[in-house]
Amino acid sequence: MDAIILQILNGLDKGSAYALIALGLTLIFGTLGVVNFAHGALFMIGAFCAVTVQRLLNLSFQTVDETQKDFLGNPLKVDTPYVEAWFGPEVGATIIDWSVPLAVVFAIPIMLAVGYAMERGLIKHFYKRPHADQILVTFGLAIVLQEIIKYFFGANPIQTPEPSALKGSLDIGLMLGFDPNAIIYPIWRLVYFAFAAVIIGGVFAFLQFTTFGMVVRAGMADRETVGLLGINIDKRFTIMFGIAAGVAGLAGVMYGPLNPPNYHMGMDFLVLSFVVVVVGGMGSLPGAVAAGFLLGVLESFASTTWATTTIPGINQIIIYLVAIIILLTRPRGLMGRKGVMEE
C-alpha cells in the first residue's frame, strides 16, 4: 500500500508538468485551431526566466578586503551581491535563496509578452494555412528559440535550487499512519504539485466564471457561430495564447529545482505533452489535465525496479505504448469531443 502511494506521489511532479503543458496546447489548439510545436520552447523559456532571475540577483560588485589575505598573501577580493548591499546581508541572502519563487513574478509579464509577440508576429498569419504548415513553422520557431537560449546560456544544465527552507523531504508515511521512512517525499515536489493544482484550478475558474472565459469556451465549441454574433474572437484568442504561454512558462520556472534547465528540455517535454493531449482527447481541457497526471503516474510505476527488471527500459516507452493502444481503441482519446480534427 505505502509503495503504491509512493509511486503515485512520484508521478505527480512529472504529471503536473505534462498536465500544464498539455493544458496550454489544448487551449491554443481549441481556440486558435493551431498546432503549436513551439509550446515546449515556452516551457523552456520559463525555466530560463528562473535562471535569469537567479543571475540578476547574484550580480555583484567587488571590494578589496584589506584585513583578509588570500593564500598568496594578496588582499582578498570579496564579491558582494548588490541586493545584499541594498537590503543588508541577511535580507539579501534570503532574497537570493528564494530566487526561483521570485522568478514566478518576473516570468508572468515576460511569458505573456512572449506569447503575445508569437501570436501577433507569427501564428496569426497561419490560421488559414494547412495544419502541416503550422506544424512546420512552429517547429522552426522551436529550433530558433532553443538555439538562442543555447547561445546565451550554453549547452550545460544550470542548477536552480529551491529555497533552503523548502529543501529536504517530508515523511508523508508517518502522517498517513505508516511506519517511519515508508514514504519519504521531497518538499519541493509537493510544492510543485500544489502550484500546478492552483494554476489549473485558476485557468478552469477563469474559463468557467468570467464572461471572457464563456466566450472562449463557446468559441472552442463553434468558432464560426460566435464570430457571427459580432464578438471579436481573434482579440480574445490572442489573450488566450498569452495565457497558454504563461501557463507553460510558469510550469517551467518552478520545474528548475526538480531538473536543472537545459536548452533542449522543451523538446523533450513537448513530444510527451502532445501524446498527452492526444490521449486526453484533442480539444478537451479536462482530458488534457487528467491524461497528464495519469501518464505521469503510469511512468512512475513503470520506473520501479520491479518493472524495469521485468521489461528493461519499460519506463521509457510506456507512455507511447499506452497512447497507441488508446488511440487504436478510442480514436478520439479519453475525453475527446466529436468533430475535432476529424477530417
Binding site: 498546432v35 507569427l122 498569419h125 494547412p130 495544419h131 502541416a132 504548415d133 506544424i135 512546420l136 513553422v137 517547429f139 522552426g140 520557431l141 522551436a142 529550433i143 530558433v144 538555439e147 538562442i148 547561445y151 523538446m267 513530444v271 502532445f274 501524446v275 493531449v277 492526444v278 484533442m282 521489461i311 528493461p312 527500459g313 519499460i314 521509457q316 516507452i317 507511447y320 505504448l321 497512447a323 497507441i324 488511440l327 487504436l328 480514436p331 480534427m341 477530417e343
Partner: protein, 400 residues
C-alpha cells in the same frame, strides 16, 4: 527514353551528369587556396549528399504527393542502419546483403507503423508517427540493449567486433564494407595542377543507387498510382465517393517512403559500419522534412536540392569560425569589422542550427514551394522584366 517523356528524361540526365561529375563540380577551388574551405568534393560529404538525397526523395513520395506529414521517418533510417550492421556482423562486410536486408526490414517496420498511424489523418497522423519514432528511439537506446537481449548495443552504438561470426568473411577481403572485394573507402586521387579530386568507390555506389531511386520516383510520380496519391491530398471525400479506398494508397506510399529511408540507412552503415540510436531521434525526422520543404515538396528535383543544400551549408557553416570572419570583413574599418563579426557570430560554427531554424521559418512563411518555386518565380520575374521592356517599346511606337 526508359518510359519517360522528354522533360523527365532531360531532368534525369542532368541529375546523372551532376552526380557522376560531382567530384569535379564540388571542388572548384585549388587545394590550399583561401577558398578551398568552400570545396565539398571529399568522399564523406559527397556520400552524405546522395544518401540524404535518397532519404528525401522517398519522404517526398509520401509528403509531397499525399500531404501526410510524417514526423517519424528517421526511425526507418535507423532500422535500416541496424539491419545492415547486423548483416556485417553475421555474414560478411559485403554491402549487398546488408543493403537488401535494410530495405526489407524497413519495409516491414513501416508497414506496421503505417498500418496503425494511417488510421488517423491530419495532425493525429503527425503526432502518431512522432510518438512511434520516439518509441523506436527509446527501444533502440535502452530497451533492446540489455545483457539478455542486445540488439542495438545502446549508447555505444552497434558495430562489428573481432569475435563476430562473419561466416562468409575471407582473409583476402578488406576488413571494412566492400562490394565483392572493392572497399567502400578506396579512393582514387586525381591531381590536375593545383586542383585535387577524389573519386571514392562508396560515393559512386551511393550515386548510382540514388539515380536508380530517382528514376523510380519519376516513374511513380507519373503513374496512375502517383495520380491517386495526389488525389488523396486534394480531396479524400471525392475519392471515397468515387469508389476508391484511400487507405491502401496512403499505406503503399508510406511503405515505399519507408523503404527509401531504410535504403538510406543501410547505405549510411555501408559507408561507415556503425549504427546509433541518435539517427532515430525526431530531430532527425525533422531534418528530412526540412530538406523536402526547402527544396520544394511535391516536385521531383526539390528534395535532392534540399538535401544537398542543407548538407553543404551544414558543413560550411560549421567550419567557419571568428578568425575566418575577421579575414572576410578585414576590408572594413576596425570597429565595423568587429561589429560585423559580432553580428554573424551566432549563426556560424555551432550556431548552424540557429541558421537552419531561421531558414526553415522563412521558407515556410514566404516560399512554401521551396527552392524550386523560388527558381520558377525568379525565372518568371526575369522573363517578365525582359518582356516588360519590349512591351514598353511596342507601346511607345504607335504613339509616335
Amino acid at each position: 527514353m526508359l518510359g519517360l517523356d522528354k522533360k523527365d528524361t532531360s531532368l534525369l540526365i542532368i541529375v546523372a551528369i551532376l552526380t557522376l561529375l560531382a567530384p569535379f563540380i564540388l571542388n572548384p577551388f585549388p587545394t590550399g587556396s583561401a577558398m578551398a574551405q568552400f570545396n565539398a568534393g571529399y568522399p564523406d560529404l559527397m556520400q552524405r549528399f546522395v544518401i540524404f538525397g535518397i532519404f528525401a526523395i522517398g519522404f517526398n513520395i509520401l509528403f509531397g504527393l499525399t500531404g501526410y506529414l510524417s514526423f517519424g521517418h528517421a526511425a526507418f533510417l535507423g532500422v535500416g542502419s541496424y539491419s545492415a550492421v547486423w548483416m556485417f556482423k553475421l555474414l560478411s562486410y559485403n554491402v549487398i546483403p546488408a543493403i537488401a536486408l535494410s530495405v526489407v526490414v524497413a519495409a516491414l517496420f513501416s508497414l506496421l507503423i503505417g498500418y496503425v498511424s494511417l488510421r488517423r489523418s491530419g495532425i493525429y497522423f503527425s503526432i502518431l508517427t512522432l510518438a512511434f519514432a520516439q518509441m523506436s528511439f527509446a527501444l533502440a537506446y535502452s530497451v533492446l540493449s540489455n545483457p539478455k537481449f542486445n540488439l542495438t548495443n545502446g549508447e555505444t552504438g552497434l558495430q562489428v567486433y573481432a569475435d563476430d561470426p562473419q561466416i562468409f568473411h575471407r582473409d583476402s577481403l578488406p576488413d571494412m564494407p566492400h562490394l565483392f572485394g572493392l572497399s567502400m573507402r578506396s579512393t582514387y586521387k586525381l591531381d590536375i595542377g593545383a586542383w585535387s579530386f577524389d573519386f571514392n568507390a562508396g560515393y559512386y555506389l551511393c550515386a548510382v543507387i540514388m539515380m536508380v531511386m530517382f528514376y523510380l520516383a519519376i516513374r511513380i510520380f507519373r503513374s496512375p498510382f502517383g495520380m491517386m496519391l495526389r488525389a488523396v491530398k486534394s480531396n479524400q471525400q471525392r475519392m471515397n465517393y468515387t469508389g476508391l479506398n484511400p487507405r491502401p494508397y496512403t499505406l503503399a506510399a508510406f511503405v515505399i517512403s519507408g523503404m527509401y529511408a531504410g535504403l538510406a540507412g543501410g547505405l549510411m552503415a555501408a559507408m561507415d559500419p556503425l549504427a546509433g540510436a541518435e539517427r532515430m531521434q525526431w530531430t532527425a525526422s525533422g531534418e528530412v522534412v526540412l530538406m523536402t520543404i526547402l527544396g520544394g515538396a511535391g516536385t521531383l528535383i526539390g528534395p535532392v536540392l534540399g538535401a544537398g543544400f542543407i548538407k553543404y551549408f551544414e558543413n560550411i557553416f560549421s567550419k567557419i569560425n571568428d578568425n575566418i570572419l575577421h579575414q572576410w570583413f578585414s576590408f572594413l574599418p576596425d570597429g565595423i569589422e568587429d561589429f560585423m563579426v559580432f553580428i554573424v557570430h551566432p549563426f556560424i560554427g555551432k550556431g548552424w542550427h540557429l541558421t537552419l531554424g531561421i531558414l526553415f521559418m522563412l521558407v515556410v512563411i514566404f516560399l512554401p514551394g521551396g527552392l524550386v518555386e523560388g527558381g520558377q518565380r525568379l525565372g518568371k520575374w526575369i522573363r517578365n522584366r525582359g518582356k516588360g521592356a519590349t512591351d514598353a517599346k511596342t507601346k511607345q511606337e504607335p504613339a509616335e
